[in-house]
């Protein structure tokens, strides 16, 4: 009974979608967007600042940002929000642990830390109130550290 009901509802939904011209997900490609799509409102975010809007904001490296020992400059990607990148000869949590301590020591305020199996991300605020992200991930046999403007 429940299955029949659900099946009928699926059919109705499909008809409604076709009839009304709804094409959920259909036209979205990975390169087309980097923001959330669909019905739900975006997550609550602590990213709001009093600074300029993204269209006005030209990110530059926050002054006094600490750099890991033995780090070497890396090539910046084709992404205007990325302001710095380098690699360090360390594994796993080393870069994350280093910056959890070094950022506050240098006067930055950590607003969130997000460890995982793929990379570690630290969100921090500079003296002007702007929020940045520091991403540490393994690339080859080194940890790549990327500093970029904050985004959800």
């Amino acid at each position: 009974m429940k299955r029949i009901g659900r099946g009928a509802a699926f059919l109705l939904l499909a008809m409604a979608a076709v009839g009304c011209g709804m094409h959920r997900d259909a036209a979205i490609s990975p390169s087309a967007a980097s923001s959330p799509i669909l019905s739900n409102p975006p997550p609550p975010s602590a990213t709001a600042t009093d600074g300029p809007t993204p269209s006005e904001f030209v990110p530059t490296l926050p002054p006094d940002l600490p750099v890991m020992p033995d780090a070497q400059p890396g090539r910046l990607p084709d992404d205007a929000s990325v302001v710095a990148r380098w690699t360090a000869p360390v594994f796993g949590s080393a870069a994350y642990d280093f910056y959890l301590q070094a950022l506050p020591d240098a006067g930055f305020t950590i607003v969130g830390s997000y460890p995982s199996e793929r990379a570690a991300l630290i969100r921090f605020r500079d003296a002007s109130g702007r929020i940045w992200q520091l991403l540490a991930e393994l690339v080859g046999d080194r940890t790549q550290i990327t500093v970029q403007a904050d985004r959800p």
């Binding site: 997550p43 994350y96 995982s116 793929r118 959800p152």
Partner: protein, 332 residues
């Protein structure tokens, strides 16, 4: 007009289907740790396509980026940041079916330490990146929801100390990761830790005045703010009100209805589900000489864990013992 009707119909159907696709909240899993301040680092990616990510709230991200607090591409579990050697708890009653604890606490590599539990509903839960020798259970043993089963670490493929908690179910004949947040397997989203309570009220929030050699009755109510149902059976895990500062202190005010010298009472109700109010009724008998006293109490899940006393508003009963002229000499 027709277009608006179509949108309305589609929306209503979508909402109905969305809810039908989820299980109702089952109140049967708790968060796998005790500290309620821990928040999700990354959740399950419910979209199998590379560089498409769908989180528990059904938000789709058409990119490969990390989305802090929500999801990252291809993620099969839920990452919770926690310092090394933090306690890890079973999220439901179950049996240990596998574990490994031989890697270093922060040994980076493909594999890490873990405990794998099997549950009565046919699901399994995995607790990953544990510390070296950080599995506090053995294969074949049964564990209870909220039981301390391990210590967190950062073994395996791990960038920053955290617990990777994963729920698996048989889907299409194969074990596959599922999203407990989307399925509302936790009591509430984003879930509740096992043992947590909030003070609500008591029979007398001021000083209890007791005539010496007599007994009065006192009760206090707490909201079950945790993810585990309180029970008053005699088994492990029953929720009781015990003396505090120090814990299990013999009380000078224990009454005849106390189960022991430090247990004032078990929870009155046979069952107090998460979100509901539990009452604890107990006697206070004064043998002490006239004067002022203070009796702190805390909740305990028996043989498992004391609750966070501060979150119980540091519950205590101020007591003033009065002279009883039937037995005491009047003051000079």
């Amino acid at each position: 007009m027709i277009g608006r009707a179509c949108i309305g119909l589609s929306f209503a159907l979508a909402v109905w289907l969305g809810s039908a696709g989820r299980a109702l909240a089952t109140d049967d899993y708790t968060l796998p740790f005790y500290d309620p301040s821990i928040s999700l680092s990354y959740g399950v990616d419910r979209d199998p396509r590379p560089c498409y990510q769908r989180d528990w709230a059904n938000v789709l991200w058409a990119d490969c980026n990390l989305h802090y607090g929500r999801v990252y591409d291809g993620h099969t579990g839920m990452d919770y940041p926690m310092p090394l050697l933090s306690p890890v708890a079973a999220s439901r009653d179950g049996t240990v079916i596998d574990l490994f604890e031989g890697f270093g606490t922060e040994q980076f590599g493909i594999n890490g330490n873990y405990v794998l539990l099997s549950h009565a509903d046919g699901r399994r839960t995995l607790y990953y990146h544990l510390a070296q020798n950080g599995a506090y259970a053995s294969v074949g043993k049964t564990v209870l929801a909220g039981q301390w089963i391990g210590a967190s670490g950062c073994s395996g493929q791990c960038y920053g100390a955290h617990l990777h908690f994963e729920m698996r179910a048989v889907v299409g004949g194969r074990w596959a990761p599922v999203d407990p947040l989307y399925e509302q397997r936790f009591t509430t989203n984003p879930g509740r830790v096992p043992f947590l309570a909030a003070y609500l009220r008591e029979s007398n929030s001021g000083t209890e005045v007791i005539k010496r050699y007599t007994t009065i009755t006192h009760w206090v109510e707490f909201v079950n703010a945790g993810g585990r149902t309180w029970r008053n059976n005699i088994g492990v895990g029953r929720v009781l009100l015990g003396t505090w500062n120090p814990p299990t202190r013999n009380s000078a005010f224990s009454a005849i209805d106390w189960p022991s010298s430090w247990v004032a009472t078990n929870v009155d109700q046979s069952s107090v589900p998460p979100g509901k109010v539990g009452r604890f009724t107990f006697g206070l008998h004064a043998e002490s000489p006239p004067g002022t006293y203070d009796e702190p109490f805390n909740l305990l899940a028996n043989s498992m864990r004391w609750f966070d006393w501060a979150r119980l508003s540091s519950f205590h009963v101020p007591i003033m013992v009065m002279i009883n002229t039937r037995f005491d000499d009047p003051p000079a």
